[in-house]
């Protein structure tokens, strides 16, 4: 089954930063999402995480969590 676009894109962004130490990688992924993602994409990704987050790169998931707005 095809991944949702935001999950696929998040995974591909994560690939770009896999070579960095974990904390730095998460920071760079979050920076990219914050700079270039439409807020609707981030909301869709966070909804995916809330639903269990299958097939999402753990670094991308951690980065998205950093950008989650406090309720």
């Amino acid at each position: 089954m095809a991944l949702p676009p935001d999950v696929r894109l998040a995974n591909e962004i994560a690939i770009q930063f896999h070579h960095l130490p974990r904390d730095r990688s998460i920071e760079e992924i979050a920076k990219h999402m914050r700079s270039f993602w439409d807020p609707r994409m981030l909301r869709a990704l966070l909804a995916h995480i809330d639903a269990g987050g299958p097939d999402l790169d753990p670094l991308a998931a951690a980065a998205a969590e950093q950008l989650r707005q406090p309720a």
Binding site: P5, L9, E12, I13, I15, Q16, H18, F36
Partner: protein, 188 residues
């Protein structure tokens, strides 16, 4: 930039500052700020799109010289004489096995959509690859292309779409099909 300055000179071009009080009509005359370019290495991310038995061909879309993007400007000019419609360029070998001759209307289907357009036999394309432009919205090229995109810019992946092409409506008299020149097999 102040309204007073604009009232005096009409218009100024950015940047306009103490070093260039009347603006900068031509930038980078003496060199670029950070050199001629900055290259950033990125990891290769292969496409997720795959050709299969159901969608064995790869569609790539592109532009031609006489039209610009979806043609909102150029289709209103005499340029339409050069490009009155988008056609699907297909290699004669791929066309022959599908019973397609030049000028036939064909269906173009991918995993996400389907459209139809006229086929043009062309050896500009290698076997296995078909090509069309997207200058005429009626063609619906973007109905067929996928949601895949580049990780950094989210630029849609319009160059790699797995598709199948089939004869939709033959516009060619039956006698012409028999008279068509056979496509030479590889090695002949």
């Amino acid at each position: 930039v102040s309204f007073d300055l604009l009232d005096k000179v009409g218009s100024v071009q950015w940047p306009c500052n103490e070093n260039a009080p009347l603006g900068t009509p031509i930038m980078h005359e003496s060199g670029f700020v950070r050199g001629k370019g900055r290259f950033m290495p990125t990891n290769y991310v292969p496409t997720k799109e795959r050709s299969t038995r159901r969608f064995p061909l790869i569609l790539t879309t592109g532009r031609i010289l006489s039209q610009y993007n979806v043609g909102a400007q150029t289709r209103r000019t005499a340029n339409v004489a050069w490009h009155p419609e988008d056609v699907l360029e297909i290699h004669p070998h791929d066309a022959e096995v599908r019973g397609i001759v030049d000028g036939d209307t064909v269906s173009l289907a991918s995993r996400v959509g389907r459209t139809s357009l006229r086929a043009r036999l062309s050896d500009r394309m290698p076997v296995g690859v078909v090509y069309t432009t997207f200058h005429h919205p009626v063609t619906g090229a973007n109905v067929v292309t996928t949601e895949h995109s580049d990780w950094a810019t989210n630029c849609p992946e319009y160059k790699v779409t797995a598709v199948q092409v089939a004869l939709a409506v033959s516009t060619v008299p039956s006698g012409r099909v028999a008279a068509a020149v056979p496509v030479p097999a590889a090695g002949n």
